[in-house]
């Protein structure tokens, strides 16, 4: 059974048009997807396709002028605003796109302890912080440092460590490889894969398809706020013949290792 099920999710923004008229703009339309424990789902799309909005809708963190329609279920339970508030940071964790979400005024160790306490299992054993860091190749000394002294790759791994101490069942990583080199990208993605291997459900939002395919089981391709295709990750291997949707084939063809062709696909 799926841990998270999203059914016909729509996210609309309300905007004022003139003095009295208000307009609704649907940025996400009719998105249905599901992710099970032990599975890595990659959410892929061009910028503006609505990838992050889906994540924020799941977390209940949409901006004030946006509303979500449709239904979401987590572990069989309806994911409404009170449920989201209760599960956020404990059973559902979001690794945000920007490493600027780390608190600049607290040490890494302090932030790890806060994350654990918020999730309801505070770290009491000495060395627990260092242990959590070491799982992501971070030295014990990192616990005493402030975020500004971390490199981009280290800061990402600190956020991954915060996710593990929270013990979340569903991990959503929004563009985890932004600004990282190939080596650090591979490292962060391996950490995400290990979450799935430990029985969590993982959603990776990425525009870096090649990196995401390394760990994903399935890929959902978003385009203009809608699901353009759902493919098995291994369908992108080889000659791409196994890909069903036209948009998926256009993406495959545009990859430099394949055709590197312009995106000629039906609109």
């Amino acid at each position: 059974m799926s841990l998270l099920e999203i059914e016909r999710l729509t996210v609309s923004f309300h905007r004022r048009a003139g003095l009295l008229r208000r307009v609704n703009v649907d940025c996400v339309r009719d998105i249905s997807l599901a992710v099970a424990r032990g599975e890595v789902l990659a959410l892929f799309g061009a910028s503006g396709a609505g990838k992050s909005l889906v994540a924020h809708a799941v977390m209940g963190l949409l901006p004030a002028n946006a509303t979500a329609g449709g239904a979401m279920r987590f572990d069989g339970r309806l994911l409404d605003p009170p449920a989201q508030a209760a599960l956020r940071g404990s059973r559902i964790a979001l690794i945000p796109q920007s490493i600027g979400h780390l608190d600049p005024l607290a040490t890494v160790g302090q932030q790890l302890r806060w994350a654990a306490r918020r999730a309801g299992h505070p770290m009491t054993v000495p060395g627990a912080v260092e242990g959590a860091l070491s799982r992501f190749d971070l030295a014990p000394a990192v616990a005493a440092t402030f975020p500004h002294a971390l490199s981009g790759g280290m800061a990402r791994r600190v956020m991954l460590a915060m996710t593990t101490v929270s013990g979340a069942d569903l991990v959503i990583a929004d563009e985890p490889s932004n600004g990282l080199d190939a080596e650090n990208t591979a490292r962060v993605f391996r950490c995400l894969k290990s979450f799935a291997e430990a029985g969590k459900a993982v959603i990776v939002i990425s525009h870096d398809l090649s990196a995401a395919l390394e760990i994903a089981d399935r890929v959902v391709l978003l385009r203009d706020g809608q699901v353009a295709a759902q493919e098995r990750a291994n369908a992108f291997a080889g000659d791409g013949e196994a890909l069903c949707a036209a948009y998926a084939r256009a993406i495959w063809n545009a990859l430099p290792q394949n055709g590197f062709s312009r995106g000629h696909h039906e609109a």
């Binding site: 892929f44 799309g45 061009a46 910028s47 503006g48 790759g153 932004n178 990282l180 080199d181 190939a182 080596e183 650090n184 525009h207 398809l209 090649s210 256009a250 993406i251 545009a254 990859l255 430099p256 290792q257 590197f260 062709s261 312009r262 995106g263």
Partner: protein
């Protein structure tokens, strides 16, 4: 024409130099790839070639001579995040006309749409803004382009569209390009040769 880095060295303060004794030549109408791990100085070398930074050792030469220190810079630098390279309070139309009025053919080739000209930078997507940055930099006086991870934040379709346009422009206008990237598959596709730092 040839843009050369001759025995370039660079370091911050008294620390270990980032670059030491680097020689590199970019020829007109050709695309040279530059790759290497983070922190090896790829972007620093790009900035030095475009004279956004002065090297602590060595020289940058155009056809064997030191480039003019004033006037239009024939070596234009484009980097990963276009949003930081444009004035947020200017509309796109003003941004692309800063050096020269934009060429219609070039607009078409890069896929810059007319309706964007009346918008502000934050009203365009990353891929759209990168096309705008390229349009601005490819003025008639531009001889070389330093393309520092210009498509790494874009989807594969936007990436291939931009690079296919650049390949064509480079050949037609005899512009030399240094393509800095971590993506070896991309460099294989666009560059005649790739240097690892």
């Amino acid at each position: 024409m040839k843009l050369e880095a001759s025995a370039i060295g660079f370091g911050f303060g008294r620390g270990v130099p980032i670059l030491d004794g680097i020689n590199l030549a970019i020829e007109s109408g050709r695309i040279l790839g530059l790759t290497g791990k983070s922190g090896r100085g790829k972007s620093t070398l790009g900035k030095i070639l475009a004279r956004h930074l002065l090297p602590t050792k060595g020289r940058v030469l155009i056809d064997g001579a030191a480039p003019a220190s004033s006037g239009f810079n024939p070596v234009q630098l484009i980097h990963q995040t276009a949003i930081f390279a444009v004035n947020p309070r200017w509309k796109i139309g003003r941004i692309v006309s800063e050096a020269n009025p934009p060429d219609e053919m070039l607009m078409l080739a890069l896929g810059v749409r007319r309706q964007w000209l009346d918008r502000y930078p934050h009203e365009l997507s990353g891929g759209e803004l990168q096309r705008v940055a390229l349009l601005r930099s490819l003025t008639p006086g531009t001889r070389f382009l330093i393309a520092d991870e210009i498509t790494s934040m874009l989807d594969p379709i936007a990436q291939s569209e931009i690079w296919l346009a650049l390949l064509e422009i480079s050949a037609r206008r005899d512009i030399g390009i240094l393509a800095i990237s971590h993506d070896l598959a991309l460099l294989d596709r666009v560059a005649v040769q790739t240097v690892t730092l």
